[in-house]
């Protein structure tokens, strides 16, 4: 049985300007100890998916319209608040993109670190502090005995992200959700943090959902990758398969537009047009208006995410019918 199984999750935001379908029918599973990467551009619904699982969607305007997220037999989306609290922050933790704003500036790091322990475990403050100190050392903060009493502003960005990680992992969670944890950091610091997450995951045997827009990070870290676009999953496969044999035109286009994968100076492939407007109902494939392979069937009927090879699924009717080798149809205009 998978550790987390999300089925048909739909999270909509009801605003004055209409209904934004941020997550529109997403299903996936995470096994124990596995790393799942969620990749997508801004507005693709990758963060909202995580926030929905963690119960962090502000309601209103947000509303979880349908779906379930079964974590070890408990539906995180429909269970009682008390049951959710006993899981969130203890068995499922989250780290956020911006370490500058996700720590409380008024509290010493020590108090923030022991808070989850005091809430979730019957433990004395002294023992909790000892655990916190141990965790600070585990995430590689030198001179931890002294610096545990610092305030967040006394740490640099990379160090703050380490504190965030220590705080998330102090209860030894079974699942860690990391929402772009390295996007705000410099590459040399990013390398440190990725190493740290990799090492701690091995030691604690936890599963990780890693949200990012950087395909390079995914390549080094994730077992499975799912590509999101317009609130839907376009393709999901093992990391190697996603890079070596992408099936969906969006995944292919994404790869061809990264400078790192192209010979120098060659004109980059561009996906024409703009990301979809999720405030309007999209009856067909969300990518169809920008897709060079789109046919009438793509615009009329929503394609389902179906298995192509074991462990490799995609949502493209034309790829499934083997019609993509014919080459792209006429490309839509790159304007407006």
């Amino acid at each position: 049985m998978p550790l987390l199984s999300v089925t048909d999750l739909r999270t909509y935001f009801h605003t004055r300007n209409g209904v934004y379908r941020a997550v529109d029918g997403v299903s996936f599973e995470v096994e124990r100890g596995e790393t799942l990467g969620i990749v997508g551009e801004s507005g693709s619904g990758k963060s909202v998916t995580c926030y929905s699982i963690m119960g962090l969607i502000p309601q209103p305007p947000g509303r979880i319209e349908s779906g379930s997220a079964m974590f070890d037999g408990v539906n995180l989306l429909r269970c009682s608040p008390a049951a959710a609290r006993s899981i969130r922050g203890k068995r499922v933790s989250m780290i956020f993109q911006d370490p500058m704003t996700s720590l409380n500036p008024y509290l010493r790091v020590s108090e923030q670190l022991i808070e989850p322990l005091l809430i979730h475990e019957s433990i004395s403050k002294k023992d909790a502090l000892a655990r916190a100190l141990e965790m600070m050392e585990a995430v590689g903060i030198n001179d931890a005995a002294k610096r545990i009493h610092f305030y967040p502003h006394e740490f640099s960005g990379g160090m703050r992200q380490r504190v965030m990680i220590a705080m998330a992992l102090i209860t030894r969670p079974e699942l860690l959700i990391a929402d772009e944890p390295t996007t705000a950091l410099d590459v040399t610091v990013q390398a440190q943090i990725l190493d740290l997450i990799r090492r701690l995951q091995r030691e604690l045997g936890m599963a990780v959902i890693f949200v990012t827009h950087d395909l390079g990070v995914v390549a080094g870290l994730c077992d499975h990758v799912q590509v999101m676009y317009g609130g839907r999953i376009m393709e999901t496969a093992g990391a190697r398969a996603i890079f070596n044999s992408p099936q969906h035109p969006y995944t292919q286009g994404l790869q061809r537009s990264i400078p790192a994968l192209q010979p120098k100076g060659q004109e980059l492939f561009t996906i024409p047009g703009l990301p979809p407007d999720v405030s309007k109902e999209i009856p067909g494939c969300a990518f169809a208006p920008r897709c060079g392979f789109a046919a009438d069937v793509c615009k009329d009927r929503r394609p389902l995410l179906e298995e192509y090879l074991p462990g490799h699924s995609h949502a493209c009717v034309r790829a499934r019918a083997g019609e993509l080798s014919d080459g792209p149809m006429s490309l839509p205009e790159n304007n407006d």
Partner: protein, 328 residues
């Protein structure tokens, strides 16, 4: 033979730090740019890379004289910008334009795109009011936007389109040099590719000189002819983009290149990584000798006392490390 259009000679930009509430005391300075010497050839694309706080944005602002220079000279087309009068400076600004990182903040929300593009044309007297419409239309087409969109306001455009407008505005005066400060880092991958293609196409067609600042080495490698790597206000390595990024000589460039994840699982999982310890030091109180020595895996005692200078490190390449010959 190509000539140098822009020259920086030992440029320094320090920001004073004042403490005290009523009586301000000068207690030190942030050495954001600390002795940069660099020549930029006409028509070349120079990439400037480094981590946050290394002074690359301050260097950009110094080149445009948007911040006062503490020392050294910025020479554009043979003219020292530091000594130019207001009127001379305004004439120089026609040749020197900037594109900023955040297309949401760099356009005036209360001006239509037409007004934003027409303003520099009128201020500099490039064309009469009657000709403005035609010029604006041409600029819009140049950056791949439909001219009729010029009646709209910036908020009606997406991030990528706004960056196109910012580029159009920088091109309005037909400048010779454009300084682009992280022009694609706020954009998504698919949009980033569009802007990169546009920039390199414009450089080719208009024989522009582009100083391209970024922290993403793969983007810089793609677009630049030469690349300069900065660390703590100084250039530590300089040379042809492919050579520097594929075969770095300076230990910092080596670490920087190795820190970038490769989007290929087969390579990424097997390659050797150099993970630097610690964070970049503070430019208020830089380490003695080589500023990189506290994080450098090759550092010896000599690095603590001896200040390295840029020395030749191969064809058309320079690097500033005293152990260059020993470590390669």
């Amino acid at each position: 033979m190509t000539e140098n259009i822009l020259e920086l000679r030992d440029v320094k930009t320090h920001f004073p730090i004042h403490t005290g509430f009523l009586v301000k005391k000068h207690t030190g300075s942030v050495r954001a740019v600390d002795g940069v010497t660099l020549s930029v050839r006409r028509g070349e694309v120079l990439g400037l890379v480094g981590e946050s706080g290394c002074g690359k944005s301050t260097l950009a602002r110094t080149i445009l004289q948007l911040v006062p220079t503490t020392g050294g000279m910025v020479v554009l087309n043979g003219r020292n910008l530091g000594e130019a009068s207001r009127a001379e400076m305004q004439a120089c600004r026609r040749d020197l334009q900037m594109i900023f990182q955040d297309p949401y903040a760099s356009l005036n929300p209360r001006m239509t795109v037409h007004a934003a593009l027409a303003e520099p044309l009128l201020v500099h007297g490039i064309c009469s009011r009657a000709e403005v419409q035609g010029q604006v239309d041409e600029l819009m087409r140049l950056v791949g936007l439909a001219p009729r969109l010029a009646r709209k306001y910036p908020h009606e455009f997406s991030g990528g389109q706004r960056q196109r407008i910012a580029i159009a505005r920088a091109l309005a005066l037909r400048p010779k040099v454009i300084v682009a400060d992280e022009p694609v880092s706020a954009l998504d991958v698919s949009i980033q590719a569009q802007i990169l293609n546009l920039l390199s196409q414009l450089c080719r067609e208009m024989n522009l000189t582009l100083i391209f600042i970024a922290h993403d080495l793969s983007v810089v490698r793609h677009i630049s002819d030469r690349v300069a790597v900065m660390y703590l206000g100084k250039i530590v390595e300089l040379g042809p983009a492919l050579d520097v990024i594929d075969h770095p000589r300076h230990p910092y460039t080596k670490a920087l290149v190795s820190a970038i994840p490769v989007p290929n699982p087969d390579i990424e999982r097997t390659r050797q990584r150099i993970v630097l310890a610690g964070d970049p030091p503070s430019p208020i109180n830089p380490p003695s000798g080589c500023a990189f020595h506290p994080r450098c895996p090759y550092a010896v005692d000599r690095c603590r006392s001896e200040t390295p200078h840029l020395v030749a490190a191969g064809p058309a390449r320079e690097a500033s490390c005293i152990r260059l010959s020993e470590i390669s």
